[in-house]
Assembly symmetry: none
Homo-oligomer: 163 residues x 2
DNA sequence: CCGTCGCGTTTGCAATTGCAAGCAACGCGC
DNA sequence: GCGCGTTGCTTGCAATTGCAAACGCGACGG
């Protein structure tokens, strides 16, 4: 029992922290926890309590729910997908862009729903790319072309090395 | 520190348990925790960890989120004002899909920013339903319905769904 | 009346969380 | 080379979680 299976949560936190480009101590301070403890949490040596988890989420400026999901603590099918709401509320987007994003999002959901019924939860936060602000690959833009005009169904999956 | 304000969470659990007409021990067994501990939790003498909280939620057959909200661990009105945050929080997407969506979103923002750099109206409309007339097809509106309603209401809807 | 069952509660105790203090390693200026 | 600040990690230690065992209470049956 000394080794909790909360590895993924720690990895996720570290990932988010590094993505935010803040040091361990900075996040620890922002979250109101001690630096060593955060270190241990990130490496899966400690199983943070709900309170700590919440603080970290706040410090990371990410959704608490995302963290709980990662921790496997919220698993119910209650879809927290306010993605659409967020998209609609974002006035940094044009109408067209909004529709496209929503359309893509919908298609993704269908895709995933249809595709995977077995891989319920793949803990693979292996950030192979995106750690930094990498410029958007053109493949994505290319994939967007069909969407920019019509809101059909269509597949945006860029060719990746997925099996 | 010694006296957490978790009174509400305990009360809430007890409420739900009694509403479900099950004994403390039954819920304890269903949740996989000990009876005395559950007793202490219900009376606010103990501050259950996220795991325990989750187990109890499962045992009660209620939403884990409702419990976290009661525990003050999730802000009920967690504003998904950020599209990226919402995407990250969406469990219905795969990691890859998330990354793609985020990238697309980023590209959109850059696009728009480049296009009308001067007409940058940085307003923060609270997404007031009504004024915003979006010519979205009904299919989108239909898809939006369940989400459009979920907007900051500090009320914990205790779903009285029969088991 | 007495034993038994279930209810929620209280009492010690092992295991764990979470932290203050201190450590080695890296980079920077002199 | 030597200080200085930063990064992350390791080490003891107090406080807390979470539990097994045991308690008082009320109800049912012999």
């Amino acid at each position: 029992m000394a080794l909790p299976k909360v590895g993924s949560i720690g990895e996720y936190i570290r990932e988010q922290r590094q993505q935010a480009k803040i040091s361990l101590r900075q996040l620890a301070a922002a979250a109101g926890v001690s630096n060593p403890y955060l270190s241990q949490i990130e490496r899966g040596l400690r199983k943070p309590s709900a309170e700590i988890l919440n603080q970290i989420a706040k410090g990371l400026r990410i959704s608490s729910q995302a963290l709980y999901v990662q921790a496997g603590l919220i698993e119910d099918r209650e879809p927290p997908s306010d993605v659409i709401t967020a998209i609609r509320a974002d006035d940094a987007l044009s109408e067209r862009q909004r529709q496209v994003l929503i359309d893509i999002y919908e298609s993704f959901r269908k895709e995933k729903h249809a595709e995977d019924e077995q891989t319920s939860q793949n803990a693979r936060p292996r950030h192979d790319s995106g750690s930094d602000d990498e410029p958007l690959p053109e493949e994505f833009l290319a994939a967007l072309e069909p969407y920019a005009a019509s809101s059909g169904n269509g597949n945006v999956t860029q060719e990746t090395k997925e099996g």
